[in-house]
């Protein structure tokens, strides 16, 4: 699909606009993390600001297992089992943290989860058992081959993911590169997790979660033990956050405390959820896609797509060398503002969303359409076709 569009007549423009496949893989696993964050925060209304703890726990579990540092789980364990272990570990962690945290509400809940995650962050960052230099992160040793997504034990159903260590596959006349395979395999895991969470949300359990968000007192009065429901939802959410972390570790083959346990990682998930639509499970995926697209479009330093190389090619030398003010050229301005400073635009977009689109992308669309898009789209299409 990507290849077709890039090689079309508007190829240059398409390269500039479309996210690259590598980006899409990171969009997938991070979107799963953002979804798990939305699962607890968007549906029960408890802002879990320390959600990065579970993401990090999952990521570190996989990398440490590959390093042979986790008891009972050796480096040869199939990746799918590792993902499960990562998820369960995060869920156990969530039960421990949630047991004390859910006595609090609102800002206090956000703060205590933030506190817990920062304790873990500092601990992992400085724990020399993790690696010789824990501050810089740990990598999967070279001896371990690619992590395989598929049914453990059945070779034919396994495909390794990873940018460098992934499989490449030829099916008939279609060929997939390593990244392409990772795209589908990571996407597959994320899709399964999404459907699992979707199922939970639409079960009676999910109804209680929403009841807690809307009016916890009333949910209690009706006879639900809200504490148990919240704790259960927190553990489920952490499980999927752990799986997302495991996917990150499997694809990147290295983890660093800054990219996993740090509280700004949870902030990124928050960003994706708000932009995509708080309280819509699929929203974070679109939010993250939007977020990454903005980042990639506005701040690519040169290789691949983005606005910067496109402007460089289109504007021409004369325009670029024009002096604007005090020795500052147009080209210089573009470089200054577009090279690697996407966070600025993401921040501005985020503020605008909070102010003017509080329901997010998907939430707003749903309001316009009058319900989940999937349900109403056929009717709309039929109306136009007739």
């Amino acid at each position: 699909m990507y290849d077709v569009l890039v090689n079309s007549p508007v190829g240059a423009e398409m390269t500039a606009i479309l996210p690259q496949v590598t980006t899409m893989v990171t969009v997938f696993y991070f979107a799963l993390f953002a979804m798990s964050f939305d699962f607890i925060s968007g549906y029960t209304g408890y802002l879990s600001f320390g959600h990065a703890a579970f993401y990090g726990a999952g990521a570190y579990a996989v990398v440490l297992a590959a390093n042979g540092k986790v008891p009972l789980v050796g480096p040869e364990t199939p990746f799918m089992l590792l993902l499960l272990v990562a998820g369960l570990l995060a869920a156990v962690l969530a039960v421990l943290i949630g047991a004390v945290s859910f006595r609090l509400t609102g800002v206090y809940f956000a703060m205590i989860t933030l506190g817990f995650s920062q304790v873990l962050y500092v601990f992992v960052r400085d724990w020399d058992y993790v690696g010789s230099n824990p501050r810089d992160g740990v990598a999967v040793p070279g001896g371990v081959s690619g992590f395989e997504v598929g049914v453990p034990g059945v070779d034919a159903l396994n495909l390794a993911i990873g940018r460098l260590a992934g499989d490449s596959v030829a099916l008939g006349f279609v060929e997939f590169t390593g990244t392409g395979v990772s795209y589908y395999m990571v996407g597959l895991v994320v899709l399964v997790c999404y459907f699992a969470m979707q199922r939970i949300i639409h079960s009676p359990f999910g109804r209680v979660m929403i009841a807690i968000r809307e009016n916890e007192e009333r949910a209690k009065a009706v006879g639900y033990n809200t504490f148990r429901y919240k704790l259960g939802a927190f553990a489920i959410s952490a499980f999927f956050a752990g799986v997302a972390g495991g996917l990150l570790a499997g694809f990147k083959r290295s983890v660093a405390p800054e990219g996993t346990f740090y509280f700004l990682v949870a902030g990124d998930a928050l960003l994706a959820s708000i932009i995509g639509g708080f309280g819509t499970l699929a929203g974070p995926l679109f939010g993250r896609l939007f977020d990454e697209s903005v980042r990639e479009f506005l701040s690519k330093s040169g290789e691949g797509g983005g606005l910067l190389p496109w402007l460089r090619d289109t504007l021409g030398e004369g325009v670029l060398a024009t002096e604007l003010y005090n020795g500052l050229t147009v080209g210089g301005t573009i470089e200054t503002f577009l090279n690697g400073h996407a966070a600025l635009y993401v921040g501005i977009v985020f503020v605008l969303f909070v102010l003017f689109v509080p329901d997010g992308l998907l939430g707003t669309v749903r309001q316009r359409v009058g319900g989940p898009v999937g349900k109403h789209l056929p009717a709309h299409l039929r109306r136009y076709l007739r």
Binding site: Y108, L114, T336, F350, L355
Partner: protein
């Protein structure tokens, strides 16, 4: 490289060598009880306390603005750290620009106060703009949106700062040596105070902390706006009913909070453990949150007590790390453990009331 220097370069962003700490750790790992005996020796304890008070002064300055804003408006300002960071850069800028005209330590100290006044003014303006332009629109929404909005503001401000810093080439490395170098000689020396050695900077910081606390306390108890703020913290609706223009009070408080954050930044700029850098925003935000929440959201008295608590614990844990415990993150981790324990034991904080803020 001494162990102290190693600690300071790893604990905080790479900064200059530690000349400010009175503790010079050369002792290798010893048994716990021996270390405890060492720790309880009067000289050690005294210098730990002095260091702790200096840290406490900084923590209180960092958290005071946050407390004022939360106490009255119920807005947990995530952009507070960014305001501190901007204050640090602006303060450094003023100092670097003015330092050529200063001779001697006293001249430089005087210029430092000029820098404080300038930064205070600029950040009050910035805070006012933020409140009127953005935050005011959100008072009728659930409080979660204010957290979200200020979080977005943080991202934007940090990245703007990063662009400016990169554009003017202010820092090839993460600390800003030029600003640090404007510190007068008095403050870099260590002053012998009886048996203990206190650095001049620590004394200066303690003094500044006392002045800040006294100033804010005076403002809250002696001025009309202080009265409004205290009334508004108790019951916003009643205050409004009694004819206080709460909207304007909100603007004033937010601007003041931003100004205080800026002042704290100017002090951090001179402290070799911090220095002016973009990551300062996140690094100062978290301790400020801890202090505010441990003290009880919205009570100034609580903030002062919690600042002292956190500062002293930080200083003693730093000593323990330097002398007995082989774990770099010990002081930082203890700070967050204090937060977690306090929230478990007494969620409303030391002096907190059940409910604060609210509209």
């Amino acid at each position: 490289m001494t162990l102290t220097a190693l600690l300071l370069t790893t604990l905080f962003e790479p900064i200059t060598l530690a000349s400010a700490t009175a503790l010079d750790a050369t002792v290798p790992l010893v048994g716990f009880f021996e270390a405890l005996v060492d720790f309880l020796a009067p000289e050690t304890l005294a210098s730990v306390v002095v260091n702790g008070l200096a840290k406490a002064a900084l923590y209180i300055m960092l958290a005071a603005g946050l407390t004022l804003i939360f106490g009255l408006m119920g807005v947990l300002n995530f952009a507070h750290g960014s305001l501190t960071m901007i204050g640090a850069y602006l303060g450094g800028l003023v100092m670097v620009l003015l330092v050529g005209s200063a001779t001697g330590s006293l001249g430089r100290l005087a210029l430092f106060f000029v820098a404080i006044v300038v930064v205070f003014g600029l950040l009050i303006a910035l805070g006012g703009v933020l409140e009127v332009g953005l935050i005011r629109r959100l008072y009728d929404r659930p409080p979660i949106y204010q957290i979200l909005l200020t979080f977005g503001v943080t991202l934007t401000l940090d990245e703007l700062a990063r662009i400016v810093v990169a554009f003017y080439g202010l820092q090839p490395i993460s600390d800003w040596q030029a600003a640090l170098a404007t510190k007068p000689a008095i403050l870099t020396q260590s002053l012998p105070l009886g048996p203990i050695n206190a650095s001049g900077l620590a004394g200066f910081q303690i003094l500044a902390g006392v002045v800040t606390v006294a100033g804010i306390y005076g403002f809250l108890t002696q001025t009309r706006y202080g009265l409004y703020i205290r009334a508004g913290s108790e019951d916003t609706e009643m205050a409004q009913a009694l004819g206080i223009d709460v909207r304007r009070t909100f603007t004033v408080v937010f601007a003041l909070g931003a100004g205080i954050a800026g002042i704290a930044g100017v002090f951090l700029m001179w402290d070799p453990r911090w220095g002016a850098s973009v990551p300062l925003a996140a690094e100062t935000l978290l301790p400020a949150f801890v202090v505010v929440i441990v003290g009880g959201l919205g009570t100034f008295r609580g903030t002062v007590v919690a600042g002292l608590l956190v500062g002293l614990v930080d200083a003693s844990m730093t000593w323990w790390f330097q002398n007995a415990v082989n774990f770099t993150g010990l002081p930082q981790m203890t700070i967050f453990l204090i937060l977690v324990l306090m929230l478990i034991v007494k969620p409303q904080g030391i002096f907190g009331v059940e409910e604060v803020g609210g509209h």
